[in-house]
Amino acid sequence: MTAIAGLALTLAACGGMSRSDRPADVQDRTAAPAPAPADGGSDVQIAAYTPPAQPQIARPQPKRAVTVLMKRADEQRRGGDLDGATVSLERALRISPEDAVLWHELAEVRMAQRQYDGVVQLAAKSNALASPQDASLRGSNWRLIAQARRAQGDVAGARDAERRAVSLP
């Protein structure tokens, strides 16, 4: 120990979203509306399968949360923050993954980013989820696809998409 003290001396010497009381919309988490009735003939041993039973408990639809994010995305897009808009829409899609409008909005952002492959894919995705009755949304998607194809130099593809946009039922 003294050695340490000595060494020390030597060293020294060296220098050294917020409102709304609207009634919440209610969604059915587990209902199956589709026409999927019994099948199987008399000679097969498969139980005919019936549409599943109705759900137990309902809870509000996440509409408001999605609306908040869509509004935010819209503001971001208008403010030129395209990445921000993408993030907001992706978040909305986690909440409501089968929302055809959200997929369309994302396609719009890709268009603004000039990512044309993405536009075509996302608009197609939106179309696959869109209600067959929603001609307006499907028309918008086809127009986006046309625009993207044209930008990529695919004139024939663009024309085809434009035709589809106007010939929707």
């Binding site: 919440a24 589709a34 509000p60 894919q121 197609a124 067959p132």
Partner: protein, 783 residues
């Protein structure tokens, strides 16, 4: 190298240590003068050597202090939990999420990171958190839940439409020398912690110059009195130096070096800098191969919360661990730990850092250690492994382990927990129920979001906390009948040739393969079923019908379908491919089924959302991408067929295992001699794959529906799922057909409404028409 270098000045010191002998007479005087000269020379030399050595040490110190002092491991975060009215987050899940975050359950919420619960209503005071896309302020919220999820959120009187809880820290990527830490700054150190350190380790820290001579003397005296070492005289500075440069040998030489460096450190750096360095360097525990360094990680490791939230008794325990983290290990030796902690509290009181009342209260507290590595304890090694591999494409290893990156992942800790427990408890049950040797079964699971391909959970084995063989990524096994949906999709993508009601032949197959081998596959039930509708062949997983149809469709088409669905591996286009002679990992299977679950849109499975550097700058984002892999209409037909599998086909057992009304689609898979048991399937928002088998690849005696399917069901039952809505995409029409696949009236016996790609519906009409209806059928019977 460093050790050898250190030797040279030692020689110098030894030389200078020779004492000149006394001389006699002139010659002696001359000699004496000579000796003096020599002595002086040696002293100068010694000073020079020490000086040079000090410069060398100083450099070492500087490198440690100012360079990449501590590799700051990348920190891995789970996904943040979005909360909103309508979120499928049950009270049980919310409770678990708050525990993942280390929030305290209290009677009355009075500050950040606290929560209370009354029935379905939670009161939560959140922490602030800076996300990569903005920050979320800490605030008090009231969250109402019922058994289906969140119904309402308010902040005071205001409705809150959307918020997110901070993400849980679930792991880190530390370097190969296994030092893990969470870097903290001086300002993060709680007063109690600093005071505790001063009280027990170094009272005169703020007064001495790196080495405390008085402290050494006091320790020496105490040790002499006791006849053994009872006190150490090392300052915090010396301890720091000891930790970060020197070898653990206990020699005088090392002590000297340590002191010398302590003096240099003290001269060059402020006390606060030294304290900060100490707080990050100190060793506080061991978990397997991972060494816990620094109070920042220590707080997470032992209490699962950030350092600044520690209370007096918790800080005192961390201080106590400095003396011997394994001897006082609070998980293994809680009594020793309590004793040591209380000694720290006593010392703090004795030296006036805390009042008697505070000390009494602190001593009464339980240790309060979180269950072993609650969230930061690398209980998700399989997922971290995946993150690492995905990051490995974009980052160098040393950047991951040292640059303090923050990695925001897609991990859903709740789903992860449910998946891990579904696998381990179901395998136990199966082994017990079927008298299979205990512990012989293994398994893996992958859960991803259906529409965007985010990996939510990854289980690499039945002991999910064990970082061993990662079966979810590395168990590449034949997928058996899991391949069939791709075969049927290839067929259904040719609507002019195949529809759900098309009859296909389940007849014997006898082929000579390339190389002259004969191939005679059989059905699982060893029967031939004759002409069967396509949907039934898939629902009941008939091998022969599948091979006949697949050969007609063409192996090339099947291969390209698999490719489009996301298989990257080489695929051999042999007929046996049609029955699953293709080996994939559970993760790769999940990719294929993700494409199906998303209606024919492939999204590469992602484990990472964004990477931030240590200054919160976003380095990289991994955006959502989709690529159309198949015609959505054909995928819709297939999905309708895969729902049938779970309702009345090989997966009908799910009916009893899933909540009533939850419609899912899926497929069982079994390989030769029952070696692999698979189940892959999806709800509207999640896709999951389960594999059960043995590491030695021996038969398990389990089919897909006996092994993997119940594991899959246990998982899906335990988490929130959106039921498949089966809304048809554009271009789908429903038509009523009879069993022979002819158009018939709705009222006809056995008539079923099938979806068709428009124009592909059968043209042939059954004898039973709308008008005849049931009557016509009866007529037919009596004819």
């Amino acid at each position: 190298m460093a050790v050898r270098k250190k030797r040279s000045p030692a020689r110098g010191r030894k030389t200078s240590g020779r004492k000149p002998r006394a001389g006699k007479g002139r010659r002696r005087q001359k000699k004496t003068r000579g000796w003096w000269k020599l002595g002086l020379g040696l002293l100068v030399l010694f000073c020079l050597l020490v000086g040079a050595y000090s410069v060398y040490l100083g450099k070492t110190v500087r490198v440690k202090f100012e360079g990449k002092r501590w590799a700051s491991p990348a920190q891995i975060y789970a996904r943040p939990l979005d909360l909103y009215a309508g979120a499928g987050v049950s009270a049980a899940q919310l409770k678990a999420e708050l525990q993942f975050l280390g929030y305290r359950n209290v009677a009355k919420v009075s500050g950040p990171a606290q929560w209370s619960q009354k029935g379905g209503r939670f009161t939560v005071h959140t922490r602030d958190f800076a996300f990569w896309d903005g920050s979320e302020p800490g605030r008090t919220l009231s969250v109402d839940t019922n058994s289906s999820g969140v119904t309402r959120i308010r902040s005071g009187k205001k409705e809150v439409d959307l918020l997110r809880l901070e993400p849980a820290l679930v792991g880190s990527i530390y370097p190969s020398h296994n030092e893990d830490r969470v870097l903290v700054q001086r300002a993060d150190l709680p007063d109690d912690l600093v005071n505790g350190l001063l009280a027990v380790e170094d009272r005169r820290f703020f007064e001495h110059g790196g080495v405390d001579v008085r402290g050494i003397a006091r320790a020496l005296w105490a040790n002499i009195q006791a006849g053994r070492t009872v006190q150490g005289g090392s300052t915090l500075t010396q301890q720091l130096v000891k930790n970060f440069v020197l070898t653990p040998e206990r020699t005088l030489w090392r002590k000297l070096n340590e002191a010398l460096m302590a003096l240099i450190v003290d001269a060059r750096y402020s006390k606060d800098e030294i304290l900060e360095a100490y707080a990050n360097e100190i060793f506080l525990g061991q978990e397997g191969g991972r060494a816990i360094h620094g109070f920042g990680l220590g707080a997470h490791f032992y209490f699962n919360r950030p350092l600044r939230e520690l209370r007096l008794h918790e800080s005192a325990l961390l201080v106590g661990l400095v003396k011997g983290a394994s001897y006082y290990n609070p998980r293994r030796h809680p009594e020793r730990a309590v004793e040591r902690r209380n000694l720290v509290i006593d010392q703090m009181q004795a030296q006036g850092f805390i009042t008697q009342a505070e000390a009494v209260k602190a001593r009464q507290q339980k240790l309060g250690i979180s269950s072993r590595g609650a969230t930061h304890g690398h209980r998700v090694p399989a997922f971290v492994d995946l993150v690492r591999r995905q990051l490995g494409r974009d980052y160098r290893e040393e950047d991951l382990t040292s640059e303090g990156l923050r990695i925001f992942t897609t991990l859903d800790p709740w789903v992860q927990q449910r998946a891990a427990s579904a696998l381990s408890s179901r395998l136990q049950k199966i082994e017990k129920g079927r008298r299979i040797a205990k512990g012989s079964l293994q398994g893996a699971m992958v859960v991803a979001s259906a529409q965007n391909g985010e990996v939510q959970a990854l289980v690499g084995g039945r002991d999910a906390g064990f970082a061993g063989f990662n079966r979810a990524l590395d168990a590449v096994r034949p997928i058996g009948s899991l391949v069939k949906p791709a075969v049927y999709l290839a067929a259904l993508s040719l609507p002019e040739r195949y529809t759900l009601s098309t009859l296909i032949e389940d007849k014997a197959v006898d082929m000579t393969l390339r190389g002259g081998q004969r191939w005679q596959p059989r059905n699982y039930d060893h029967q031939l079923h004759g002409e069967v509708p396509l949907h039934e062949a898939l629902a009941r997983s008939f091998n022969l019908a599948t091979v006949n149809m697949g050969m007609d469709v063409g192996l090339k088409r099947v291969v390209s379908t698999l490719r489009a669905l996301g298989v990257k591996r080489d695929i051999d286009a042999f007929p046996s491919l049609l029955l699953g002679a293709l080996s994939l990992s559970p993760l790769e299977v999940a990719q294929v089924y993700q494409s199906l679950a998303a209606g024919g849109f492939n999204s590469p499975l992602r484990a990472i959302r964004a990477v931030l550097d240590d200054e919160q700058e976003q380095l990289q984002r991994y955006p959502l991408t989709v690529t159309q892999a198949a015609d959505p209409a054909a995928v819709f037909l297939l999905t309708r067929n895969l729902v049938e599998v779970t309702e009345s086909g090989t997966g009908a057992g799910l009916r009893n295992l899933l909540p009533q009304g939850l419609q899912v689609a899926g497929k069982t898979g079994t390989t030769n001699e029952l070696r692999d048991s698979w189940f892959a399937g999806f709800s509207a928002d999640r896709v999951a794959v389960a594999w059960v088998g043995r590491d030695d690849n021996a038969p398990t005696g389990l089919t897909g529906s006996q092994g993997a399917m119940p594991v899959w069901a246990d998982l899906m039952r335990g988490i929130d799922n959106l039921s498949l809505q089966m809304a048809p995409p554009p271009g789908i029409e429903y038509h009523w057909v009879d069993r022979a696949g002819r158009l018939s009236a709705e009222t006809c016996e056995g008539a079923v409404a099938f979806p068709y790609i428009a124009g592909s519906q059968p043209v042939e009409r059954s004898d039973c028409t709308e008008q005849q209806g049931l009557g016509g059928f009866l007529e037919g019977l009596f004819n």
